[in-house]
C-alpha cells in the first residue's frame, strides 16, 4: 500500500534545463522519509510537484491511488486538506501583517472546514508546544524556533495525513533544531512525513527511510540504518564522509 506514488517523473523548466529525471518514489502511509540532496539537486522542485504546485513533464504522481491532477478542482480541494508543508525560512513563511490566529486558521477558512476554529487553533498551538495566548500576537514577536512552531501549527491544524517539511530546521540554532526535530518526530507518529534536507544528520535522527537525490536523479534509497551502515553509491559515501562529527575529534584527543 502506498500513500504517494511517483512514477517515471521528468521535469524541466526548458528543454535544455532538465531538473528531474526518471524519479520513482513510493511513500507508505505512516512512514517517515528523508529526501537528502544538496543545492541544485532538484529536491525542492520534486517537493513542488508533490504539492501540486507544478506538473511533471512526464510520468505520474498519485496520492492515495488518485492521480495528482492540478486541474481537478474537487480532487485538489480534498488533496490540499490532506497535504501540508513547513518551509525552511521561519521569517518568510509567516505573513507579518496577520495575527497568529489568522495565520494558523487560514487552511481552515480556505478549505471551509467546519468546527470551532478558535478551539482548533488553540489545539494546534498546544500540539506544537506554544501557549494559546500566542494567537493574538504577530509573528515578529516570536523567535525563529517559535515561528517554526507556528508554521508547523498551521500545517497540522487541518489534520493532514501527509506533512512535507522543506529544510524545516536548517535555519534554526542547534538547540532549537533538536527541539523542532523532536516535535516533528512526535507528529510523525500520527501522519506521513516527507522531510527534505541537505543535512543527513538531522534526517538520520528523524527518518526511518532515506532517499538520496543528486543532480535530479535518485541515486540511492532504503532503510536509514542500512544506508548509514552500508552506503552503496559513491555520492552517498562522499556525503556521509563530509559530515563533520564531534565524536571523531573526541576519540582522537
Amino acid at each position: 500500500m502506498t500513500l504517494i506514488q511517483v512514477q517515471n517523473v521528468d521535469f524541466g523548466y526548458s528543454a535544455n534545463r532538465q531538473i528531474l529525471s526518471d524519479i520513482n518514489l513510493d511513500i507508505a502511509p505512516g512512514d517517515t522519509v528523508g529526501l537528502v540532496g544538496e543545492s541544485g539537486s532538484g529536491k525542492t522542485t520534486l517537493l513542488r510537484l508533490l504539492l501540486g504546485l507544478a506538473r511533471p513533464d512526464r510520468g505520474s504522481i498519485t496520492f492515495d491511488g488518485q492521480t495528482l491532477d492540478t486541474g481537478n478542482r474537487a480532487f485538489m480541494r480534498q488533496f490540499r486538506r490532506q497535504a501540508q508543508i513547513v518551509f525552511q525560512d521561519p521569517y518568510s513563511s509567516l505573513d507579518p501583517r496577520q495575527t497568529i490566529f489568522s495565520i494558523i486558521a487560514e487552511p481552515l477558512r480556505s478549505l471551509k472546514i467546519d468546527g470551532d476554529h478558535r478551539q482548533m487553533v488553540a489545539d494546534a498551538l498546544e500540539a506544537v508546544g506554544l501557549d494559546r495566548d500566542a494567537a493574538t500576537r504577530y509573528s515578529h514577536q516570536f523567535s525563529g524556533g517559535q515561528r517554526q512552531r507556528i508554521a508547523i501549527a498551521r500545517a497540522i491544524v487541518a489534520r493532514p495525513r501527509f506533512l512535507l517539511a522543506d529544510e524545516a530546521v536548517s535555519a534554526l540554532d542547534l538547540t532549537t533544531r533538536t527541539r523542532i526535530v523532536d516535535l516533528l518526530a512526535r507528529l510523525s507518529a500520527e501522519m506521513t512525513l516527507l522531510f527534505v534536507s541537505h543535512d543527513i544528520g538531522v534526517v538520520a535522527a528523524l527518518c526511518r527511510r532515506i532517499v538520496i537525490i543528486e543532480k535530479g536523479r535518485i541515486v540511492e534509497h532504503g532503510e536509514t540504518a542500512e544506508i548509514l551502515k552500508n552506503p552503496q553509491h559513491p555520492y552517498t559515501q562522499r556525503l556521509l564522509a563530509s559530515v563533520p562529527r564531534l565524536t571523531v575529534n573526541e576519540i582522537s584527543s
Binding site: L53, S93, L94, R97, I103, E106, S110, Y138
Partner: protein, 281 residues
C-alpha cells in the same frame, strides 16, 4: 537585529510626525468643510477696498476686485482636497488593479505592460493632464481630476507590480496556496496588506503632486474658473500685483506647500501606527 536596534531611537519621533501631519491636514479639511456651509464673505462680491493688506476684517487682505482672499483660500482648500483625493482614488483604482494583474501575468504580457507603463511614466504628469483637459472642451474641475488620476495610475501600477512580485515569492504565499486559498483571496489577505504601507506613502506623495499639478493647470488657465477658484487661479490673479500686494501670491503658495507636507507627514505617521512589525513589543 542590528538594524532594528539602530532604528529604535526614531520610534519616539513617530507620534510627533503623525500629529504634525494631522494638524496641517486637519486645518485644510476643516477650512474646506466649513466653506461648504459658511464663508466669512460672499466670494463673488466686493467685501472691501481693492488690494487691501491684512487686517482684522480681512485676514490675508483682498484681491484686485476687492474680494476677500481668506474666503477664496477656504474654497481653495476644498478644491485642493477634492483634486488630491479624486486623482489619487482614480490613480489607485486603475493603478493597483493593473499592477496586480501585471504581477500575475505571464511573461510576455507582463513585459508588455511594464514597457507601456515605463513609456507612460516618461511623459510628465502635467503634460498628460494638459492633453486630456485640452481634449475636453470645457475646462472644469473634474476633467482635470480624471486627467491627473489617469496620469498617476501609471506610476501606481508600476510600483504595485514590483511590490506585489516581491511578496509573491514569499513562502507564506506558497503556504496559502497549499492551504487551498484562491488567488483573489491571496491578493486580498496577503498581498494588499503587505504592499499597502509603501503604497500609502506613495499615494501621499501623489496627492501632493496632484494638488500642485492642478494648481499649475489653473495657473495656465486650464483649471476651474472663478468663483470656485483653486489656489493656482488665485496665484495667477495675484500675479499682476505681486509687488504691490505680495500676500495674494504668498498665501496660496503657503497653503499649497502646507497641505502637501501635511499629507506626507500624515501618511508616514499612519504607516508606522498601522504596521504591526513597527509597533513596540
Amino acid at each position: 537585529m542590528t538594524t532594528e536596534i539602530v532604528a529604535a531611537p526614531q520610534r519616539q519621533r513617530r507620534p510627533l510626525i503623525l500629529w504634525a501631519g494631522l494638524i496641517l491636514v486637519g486645518l485644510h479639511v476643516f477650512a474646506g468643510l466649513l466653506s461648504l456651509v459658511w464663508l466669512p464673505y460672499d466670494p463673488t462680491a466686493m467685501a472691501g477696498g481693492r488690494l487691501e493688506g491684512p487686517s482684522f476684517l480681512h485676514w490675508v487682505g483682498t484681491d484686485r476686485l476687492g474680494r476677500d482672499l481668506f474666503t477664496q483660500m477656504m474654497i481653495g482648500s476644498r478644491i485642493a482636497l477634492t483634486v488630491g483625493l479624486g486623482a489619487v482614488a482614480i490613480g489607485a483604482a486603475i493603478g493597483v488593479t493593473l499592477g496586480i494583474l501585471a504581477a500575475f501575468a505571464t511573461r510576455w504580457l507582463d513585459d508588455a505592460l511594464a514597457a507601456t507603463l515605463d513609456i507612460l511614466i516618461a511623459f510628465p504628469t502635467l503634460l498628460i493632464a494638459m492633453l486630456v483637459v485640452a481634449a475636453s472642451d470645457t475646462a472644469n474641475l473634474w476633467s482635470a481630476i480624471i486627467a491627473l488620476g489617469i496620469a498617476l495610475s501609471a506610476i501606481v501600477a508600476r510600483l504595485t507590480r514590483i511590490l506585489a512580485k516581491r511578496v509573491l515569492v514569499m513562502d507564506y504565499i506558497t503556504a496559502a496556496r497549499t492551504s487551498g486559498s484562491s488567488w483573489p483571496k491571496i491578493v486580498a489577505i496577503h498581498i494588499l496588506p503587505n504592499i499597502w504601507p509603501t503604497l500609502a506613502v506613495n499615494f501621499a506623495l501623489q496627492f501632493g503632486l496632484a494638488v500642485i499639478a492642478e494648481a499649475s493647470l489653473s495657473y495656465l488657465g486650464l483649471g476651474a474658473p472663478p468663483p470656485n477658484a483653486s489656489w493656482g487661479r488665485i496665484l495667477q490673479e495675484a500675479q499682476g500685483t505681486v509687488y504691490t500686494a505680495p500676500l495674494g501670491a504668498i498665501a496660496p503658495g503657503i497653503a499649497l506647500v502646507s497641505l502637501a507636507i501635511g499629507v506626507n507627514l500624515l501618511a508616514d505617521g499612519l504607516r508606522d501606527a498601522i504596521d504591526p512589525t513597527r509597533r513596540s513589543r
